[in-house]
C-alpha cells in the first residue's frame, strides 16, 4: 500500500476507534461490497446481508483491539468469514463447490480431438477496459453475468480482482486451497470472456 494510502487508512482506523460516525459511513461504503462478496461465498443472499450488518455492529467493539497486523480490509473480511463459518458449523451445512473441471464446457467444446482450436476467437478485444466500460449496455451485461456466476467463483473473482487481495489472503478468507482458488478464478474469467465475446460479435447479452 502506498504511503499516503497507509496514512489515510490509519486516520480511518483512528476515526473508527473514537466512534466517529462519519468514519463509519466512509468505511461502510468502502468495505461492504467486499464483505458481502465474502459472505456470499458461504451463505445465501439474505443471510449474507444479515451477517455483514451484524459484523459492522461488532466492529464498533472489536476495532479497539485492532492492532494493524493485517490491513483493515483483510481484518474485516476475516471477521465476516469467521462468522459465516460459525453459522455453517451450527447449521451443519457445507458449501457445495465444484472444482472438478478447469475449462468451461462452452470453451472446451471449441477444441478438436487433437486439442487444436475448432472455433477460435474471431475478434480481438481492441478497446481498452475503460473505453469498453463506457458502453452502458456492456456494463449492464457484465452486471448480469457477474450476478449469474456461481457464488464461489464470484467471491473469488471479486476478492482477487476487484478488492485486490493476494492469493494467500483469498485462500485464507474463503478457506480454499491455492489450486482450488486457481480453478475458481479461471472458470469465472472464462465466463466473462465468453460473455464479452458474444457481446462483441452479436451486440447481445
Amino acid at each position: 500500500m502506498a504511503h499516503s494510502a497507509l496514512n489515510e487508512e490509519q486516520a480511518l482506523i483512528e476515526g473508527l476507534k473514537t466512534g466517529n460516525e462519519q468514519s463509519y459511513k466512509e468505511a461502510v461504503r468502502t468495505f461492504t461490497p467486499g464483505m458481502l462478496a465474502v459472505a456470499r461465498f458461504y451463505l445465501d443472499h439474505s443471510s449474507a446481508e444479515e451477517i455483514v450488518q451484524d459484523c459492522w455492529v461488532t466492529v464498533i467493539d472489536a476495532v479497539q483491539k485492532f492492532e494493524g497486523r493485517s490491513g483493515l480490509k483483510t481484518w474485516l473480511h476475516r471477521i465476516v468469514a469467521n462468522r459465516c463459518k460459525n453459522r455453517l458449523r451450527n447449521s451443519k451445512r457445507e458449501v457445495p463447490t465444484d472444482f472438478s473441471d478447469t475449462l468451461e464446457p462452452e470453451l472446451a467444446d471449441r477444441f478438436n480431438s487433437k486439442g487444436r482450436w475448432d472455433l477460435p476467437p474471431k475478434l480481438q478485444f481492441h478497446d481498452s477496459a475503460d473505453s469498453l466500460m463506457e458502453n452502458g449496455a456492456l456494463s449492464d451485461c457484465l452486471d448480469k453475468h457477474l450476478s449469474a456466476l456461481p457464488e464461489a467463483q464470484r467471491s473469488a473473482l471479486m476478492l482477487y480482482e476487484a478488492h485486490q487481495h493476494k492469493s494467500d489472503d483469498v485462500c485464507n478468507i474463503l478457506d480454499v486451497s491455492a489450486s482450488n482458488l486457481r480453478v475458481l478464478l479461471h472458470r469465472a474469467r472464462q465466463k466473462i470472456f465468453l460473455m464479452v465475446e458474444t457481446f462483441q460479435e452479436t451486440g447481445e447479452c
Binding site: 473514537t18 472446451a108 480482482e161 474469467r189 464479452v196
Partner: protein, 88 residues
Amino acid sequence: MLMCRDLAVIASDYIDGELPVFQKMSVKMHLLMCRDCRTFIGNLRASTDLMKAHSSAQADKELIRRIDERVAEALREGPQNPASRDTE
C-alpha cells in the same frame, strides 16, 4: 508439446504469472506460433481488466442505509464504545 486446449487450461495461471518457468516458456513458444491462442490470451486478459474496471461493485444502497442506521444506533447506545463519549 503444448496444444491449444492445454494452453486454455492454464491461461489464467499464465496471465497471473503463476506458472513454473518451464511451463511459462512452453506457453511463450506456443504463442509465438499460434495466432488463435495469442488472440485468446489477449481477450482473456482484456476480460480480466474489464472486470477490474467494473469493480465499482457498489453494494445495494438500501443495505448501506440499513448498516448506517444500525451503526449509528449502536454508537449512540454507547457502552460498547466509551471512547466516543470522550470526543464529543
